[in-house]
């Protein structure tokens, strides 16, 4: 009954960013491989589940979309608590939305420390000619705060999959690291049960396949 039951990981990912930067489109593109399509099986694009299997590690992603309006900003902590990863989306043609991302990063670092994996996504690269957020600035900022930076276009299906894949790998790695740290920490005090290392052992088994 730990965070990773039966060798599968459960990760919660929140999408944060100003309204109209395309959070929902990115989400839909990833889950249903559709862009604002009429043939969606799910009509609610606020919560979506995705099962992936990287190299034998089963990962269940629960992706939560959040409201981007400024008036709902204060509700952020309710949404992002206990989440393993956050995708911060901005619109490359909108400088304000990048400023908003910086705010989110500051807030997340303050509230969750390094427990959360951050990925910054510059969306709408299909509108490259209208770019207002300088490429170098965005990337060097992401570097500085220890987040990966991706350019995406939900419209052209660019970078979306890479973004989620990278995020997932990072979360898995961090989870394993933490689990190991937990084991070593608890084993020094008292070895109670070997529940915690379960994911790693299972995964190593899967690697042999």
């Amino acid at each position: 009954m730990s965070g990773a039951t039966n060798g599968s990981y459960n990760f919660k990912v929140v999408l944060l960013g100003e309204g109209c930067v395309g959070k929902t489109s990115i989400l839909l593109r990833y889950i249903e491989d559709k862009f604002n399509d009429k043939h969606l099986t799910t009509l609610q694009a606020t919560f979506l589940n995705k099962k992936i299997n990287i190299n034998g590690k089963r990962i269940n992603l629960s992706i939560w979309d959040t409201a981007g309006q400024e008036k709902f900003h204060a509700l952020g902590p309710i949404y992002y608590r206990n989440s393993n990863g956050a995708i911060l989306v901005y619109d490359i043609t909108d400088e304000d939305s990048f400023g908003k991302v910086k705010n989110w990063v500051k807030e997340l670092k303050k509230m969750l420390g390094s427990d959360i994996v951050l990925v910054i996504a510059g969306n709408k690269v299909d509108l490259e000619h209208e770019r207002t957020v300088p490429l170098e600035e965005a990337e060097s900022y992401a570097n500085m705060v220890g987040a990966k930076h991706f350019y995406t276009s939900a419209k052209l299906n660019q970078g979306v999959e890479d973004l989620f894949l990278e995020l997932t790998r990072e979360m898995t790695e961090r989870h394993d690291r933490n689990a190991q740290a937990d084991v070593s920490r608890t084993s020094r005090v008292l070895v109670v049960e070997d529940e915690a290392p379960a994911p790693s052992s299972c995964c190593s088994g899967a690697k042999h396949n």
Binding site: M1, S2, G3, T5, N6, G7, S8, N10, F11, K12, V13, L15, G19, K23, T24, L28, D33, N36, K38, H39, L40, T41, L43, Q44, A45, T46, F47, N49, K50, K51, I52, N53, I54, N55, G56, R58, N60, S62, W64, D65, T66, A67, G68, Q69, K71, F72, A74, L75, I78, Y79, N82, S83, E161, L165, A206, N209
Partner: protein, 920 residues
Amino acid sequence: MDGAYDEIISDNPFFVELKNEYTNLFQHCISQSWVVCVPRIGSLTTRVFTVEDFCAHILVPSDELPETNYSTLTEKQVTVSNKVIILEVTKELPLQSHILFEETFYTEDFLKYKVWCIESPLEPTRNVGDNTITKEYLTSINDCIDLLWTQAAGRQVLDQIEQSVQVFLKKQPSLPIAIGPLKDAVSELYTQCLQYALQNRRLREKSKACKQILENIKIAVECYMQQILFDALFKPICTCCSYEDSHLNKKIRNMCDIQLRDLDIKKELYHAVPKAKQILSKIDSYNTVLEKVLCLKQALNAINKKDSSNNVVLLTADDLLPVFVFLVIKSGLPNWYSQLTYMKEFRFSGVGRSDGDESAFLITTLEAVIEHIQSGALAGPPDPESYYYESNLTEENLNNRQRKNSLTESISTSDTNSRDETLEYIFELVKANHTEQIQTILLRNQRHLESIHANDNNMLKITLESDLLNDYDEDDDSGSDTEIYQKLCHPLCNCKKCCSKISKNLLRTSPTVNSRDSHGLTPLHVACIHGKAAIVEILIEMRAEIDATDLNECTALHYAASRGHQNALLLLLHSGAHINQANIDKNTPLHLAVNNGHLNCVKALIYFAEHSRKMIMINSANESGNTPLHLASKWGYEGIARLLIENGAEPSLQNRYNKTAFDYAHNLKILQVLKSVTPNLYEYIHITTSDVKVLNYRNDKNLTFKLQKMTLRYQDNNPSKAVENLKLIDRILKAISYGDVKLACFYMNINYADYVDDSNQLKDSSCHPLCECKMCKKKTESCTEFDVNFSDSNGFTALHYASRYGLDELCNILILNKANVNCSNKKGQTPLHLAALNNKTGVIRVLLDNGANINAVDITGNTPLHDASDMGNIGAAKILISYGPNMTMLNGSEKTALKIAKERVHLTIIDLIEKHANNS
């Protein structure tokens, strides 16, 4: 808790064999991004698979429609829609299989391929294996009971759960009122129930075979337990959350006018809101967390509908939250916080999985919504008038000179439309609290009106000829109103020029203190809506109509009360606003103040009423039959409920739906407040319904005392009315015991002032039997609808109390109001007895002068003289004796008054009685 099917694909024998034994096929499949279908574990009977089996389960996307149309490697056509695979089989019906889930695999070199876990094999000939996969989703308590019943093949598990819940409840007759311990206790019970369930052999084996079943069993056990436990559990939860709930309710009540557009909700979603609201409001009727969460989900799904032009509206988080906020505000549920706490904290089967499943998302969304409402970020209630006035006047541009100029212009030009415009401007000035400007404008307009009035004579002679107006040269347009008349040739002149001046003046329409807009709002209403006490004061000073009503028949007092502006409210009350005025829904200001949770205003209303001797109708019912106490109870306003109860609110009154305030109380705290009055009341009701009471005392001595029936005075079959009267009499008696004659009179609806100014005349009761002078008329007519002979549960009337406490003045008033001087209480005592016992000589005189029976006996046979002798009350004895009582009367112990006095050695009294006996 969403109970979606899950299994580890890489452990599935079908998949393992494909991967290990047919590596080439598998690799090819990956490189071509074909979809691999894997029948779920247990759906295949055999463990031996052929190449054909695998080929039949590999789907190749078609070129035209890669999303929906596929063909298998065995050349069969497959379509996919809404997560169902349909295989076209030539002879039979098409074979269907649900896609249970999709898993995206990435190889080490990051090649991607999709695997669909399907419910049954895509092989029509293949014999389908054990069909133990029960319902994928448990959606109701009945599903849960079904599952436990059928899977365990009998009721025993259900019975065991029920039993352990009963034992649990018996062990803890009152559950702890704190969420922590409560959760721990219930969690322990859940573990215990789950253990019972898994002790069942069949359930244990099945759950071992399939993880899915285990999850479902957990949910079912939890649900069944919650269902039985709910009644006992939810009240304590509500009690824990009562503070949050009442605050949330206050917030919600104060913004109940809010409209969809105020929340920036997309127009395409409007149509779905009523349906969603209806679904969501049912959340209260579900007992289990599972069903409540499902209700949330259904409500949100209801919003995901097609818009009017049949396009699918995709609901994004940006849309979802505002709609949800609206739904919660409009749902009318009084305990959202408790519902949230219940869902959040008492969901045990989901624990252990990550926090991220769909139920967690729904609950979190609800939490976010509640937090959003609670935080007050919703900028308060929109002003009712904001719908028709776009407010563009800020402090800044108010100070702008130009605006001022245009204002004076608009007033001085005699444009008939200027009335609306300037009234609007005044409303905005009120909003911005510009006291002085309002005062100047209104005063000027008033003066203008007065001047017109003063020149009535001239007015009559004026004919409004257009050419006359046109001829007129507008040189003195800027002159003030009073000046106009000074500019006339002569005050009575009616030459062309003068007439036109006057008529121009008459045509000018400018707002006054009593002007109304299209919704019937006066400046006073607007000032009260915004709580600008200083402006309210000015307007009142300028003789604004206090009780002016708008379209909804609301007075300014209604608005002050509903918006919680205590200062404005008090100003209105002191200026004589009608305190019990009902609006179109029969709501009094008290209703509105209570409904919106404004304790300060409720206090102001009640205390003002008490202080000023005005009757506030504390139990008045509105259109739906709700009294203020109903509302306080429903929304959980503990402080207000207590205040109402203390001031005579009656919790047992029923509204139109036959509900009392008790029925609306959803937490123990409120219930306690409501109950704090009732024990006595039920006793009262019991007494009042009994008929004539005859008490035979000591029959052998032939001393029979008929006790006066104390109940006949209100043989009203309506207990609550009787109860109301009883509470009133209690208050009256209390006032008397404090010696507060005025208050007592006020309660009895007697105008005290009528009696004070000429209290000296009271003794000689009337000039002449038929006299009709003011004084006598008062005496005969002053009987109010209140019967002064009401008694409390011990048979004490107001006169008894007045006698006991020696208030001769009040005794006089009561007697004038037809109080029965010889009525007796439960012990058979008349007011005279009490006066004698307490040595109230003044009262004794008044009573005896007004026909009190000097030889009245109480149930122990004592006359007033016995009592006076017993107590050694010399003064009382003296007066009694002077009225010539029968001194030979024996009491119940066969003693005369003299004998008692001797026993007590009250020498003076012995002396008095003996002297009198000798004289007579």
